[in-house]
């Protein structure tokens, strides 16, 4: 949560906003985690996170505290993640449908062994399941089930109306369950947990 800013700030900004440093300190993990959940692969993670914080830095004076900082941040994270995926698609058009999965599982950046090593089996499973969701469902799922945001908050972060959000949450849960079922089926057929 943002530090409550009560001291009057002399100068133009009408509503006091948390400092950039404070936002970074409290939400860097949130940003990295959710970019990854939204399908930004390891190779692009730093760039994407940097983009998020550059936007945050620029737009922070606009933040009016009407919504939670996490909701506000999520709008930026989602935008950057979408943008990043588009860029990647443009750059790797040959990789077809399971592009995202390929990225996560195979395209490990060799120069960042620390990060690869960090990715545990359970995270890889979750990411590969998320990869099976389309963009809308993936966002809805991450926000509702992993961040446990409320539908009205999601509506704000995603610029959607609340009913659409509810519909997406439902669809995303269904899609995720199907992905889990396929995952379990693969597990039993190969005889190894993967």
């Amino acid at each position: 949560m943002p530090a409550p800013v009560s001291t009057p700030v002399p100068g133009p900004p009408a509503a006091p906003a948390p400092t950039f440093e404070a936002v970074y300190a409290s939400h860097a993990g949130f940003v990295l985690r959710n970019l990854r959940r939204l399908g930004v692969n390891d190779a692009a993670l730093d760039d994407a996170a940097q983009d998020v914080f550059v936007v945050v830095h620029r737009r922070l004076p606009e933040f009016e505290g009407r919504s939670a900082i996490s909701t506000w941040l999520f709008a930026i994270v989602v935008g950057v993640a979408r943008n990043q995926r588009r860029t990647r698609r443009r750059r790797a058009p040959e990789s077809g449908g399971n592009e995202a999965e390929t990225d996560i599982l195979a395209a490990a950046p060799a120069e960042r062994p620390d990060r690869r090593a960090e990715q545990s089996q359970s995270i890889r499973v979750l990411m590969s399941l998320l990869d099976e969701l389309d963009e809308d469902k993936r966002e809805a799922f991450v926000l509702s089930q992993l961040e446990q945001m409320t539908a009205p908050e999601m509506a704000e972060a995603l610029h959607l109306n609340v009913n659409t959000v509810y519909a997406r949450i439902r669809a995303s849960i269904q899609a995720f369950e199907q992905a889990v079922a396929r995952h379990r089926a693969r597990e039993t057929s190969t005889g190894r947990p993967q």
């Binding site: 993990g29 550059v54 610029h159 995720f176």
Partner: protein, 350 residues
């Protein structure tokens, strides 16, 4: 709101999520690395702001601003790494003056002065933090990154490119629908030093307002900064004057400092057009630190040196590859302009 009933996740699905969340991170290392990168980027804003100040203020003010930056950082710095940072700050500030003095269109940065002051505050905070946390790798990297980005006329240009590239996501999130409105001149928050740099000259009022808080921000942190109590205070004696010296002395036993110093040497040579000297420092670096922390900076600097010295053809393929690999690196925008490799010719090279 209607009472939609959301289906609950199955226990199986939930257990997968819970297991992953336990280990999701990110690690402190990742957060620190990102901190370095983010600051590196904001360091550009800082140097651009410094340029604006220098452009309109008198030379004396400029000197004072540089001096206070250096002094403040020196106070906070007790490690060799921090001493390196001092040099970096100094180089940036000085070079910014050169940029503007040369009339490189950098005068129109008034609008970003507020951003600059924020960035400055943030900057010093970061330094203090990094110094205290002893995350010397990050600190050194960002220090050198500041040099890399700030130490030439193209620094101002690179601000613009980077901001523009980030503007797309803003547009997406901001309006929900509207496609990239990079060129939107009305983004009052925008602080794209870019658009300002392209625009007209600033009004003095804005400059004054901007430069003033920036200076304050630079001066105040000593009170804030807890005294770092690191025993290995190699750079403890670093004074503004001795900053350059301390980089050399730091080479003695800290490979990272040595690496930083090498790239810094290359960068300052590059900034003043001594391309062969820059290349030879980079060769040194490559020999000694083939996989160093600053490899990316080295590669970028080498390409800049090649292009700068008229060997664009020689560098072309490598530049294209670099841009494909690191499209949003702060170096990328400089490479595009210096090497004239536009985004239009994003060739199919790997």
């Amino acid at each position: 709101m209607k009472q939609h009933h959301e289906p609950d996740l199955s226990l199986d699905a939930r257990s997968i999520i819970d297991a992953a969340r336990l280990e999701e991170g990110p690690s402190g290392v990742e957060v620190e690395r990102l901190r370095g990168r983010v600051f590196m980027h904001l360091g550009i804003a800082f140097s651009a702001g410094a340029a604006a100040t220098l452009a309109t203020a008198t030379a004396t003010t400029a000197e004072a601003a540089v001096a206070s930056t250096v002094a403040t950082t020196a106070t906070a710095a007790t490690t060799a790494t921090m001493a390196t940072t001092v040099t970096a700050a100094k180089v940036i500030a000085t070079t910014s003056a050169t940029v503007v003095g040369a009339g490189a269109g950098g005068t129109a940065l008034s609008g970003s002065s507020a951003a600059a002051s924020v960035a400055t505050t943030t900057a010093v905070g970061f330094f203090a933090k990094l110094g205290l946390g002893g995350a010397s790798a990050t600190a050194a990297k960002l220090a050198i990154a500041m040099v890399v980005v700030g130490a030439s006329a193209a620094g101002v240009v690179s601000v613009s490119r980077d901001d523009a590239s980030v503007a797309t996501p803003v547009a997406v999130t901001g309006s929900g629908v509207s496609p990239s409105s990079d060129s939107d001149p009305n983004r009052s928050d925008g602080k794209p030093a870019s658009s300002r740099a392209r625009d007209a000259a600033p009004s003095n009022g804005e400059i004054d307002r901007g430069s003033e808080p920036a200076a304050k921000a630079v001066v105040s942190p000593p009170e804030l900064s807890v005294e770092p109590k690191r025993p290995d205070a190699r750079g403890a004696s670093a004074t503004p004057v001795a900053a350059t010296e301390s980089v050399k002395s730091a080479q003695v036993d800290d490979p990272l400092a040595e690496e930083t110093a090498l790239v810094a040497r290359a960068q300052s040579a590059l900034a003043s057009g001594r391309y062969d000297e820059a290349l030879s420092a980079l060769d040194d670096h490559q020999r000694r630190f083939p996989n160093g922390v600053l490899s990316q900076e080295r590669n970028g600097a080498r390409l800049l040196a090649l292009c700068g010295s008229g060997r664009r053809a020689q560098a072309h393929d490598a530049v294209a590859a670099f841009l494909a690999r690191e499209p949003s690196s702060p170096l990328a925008s400089r490479l595009r302009s210096v090497c004239a490799v536009g985004s239009t010719e994003r060739s199919g090279s790997p």
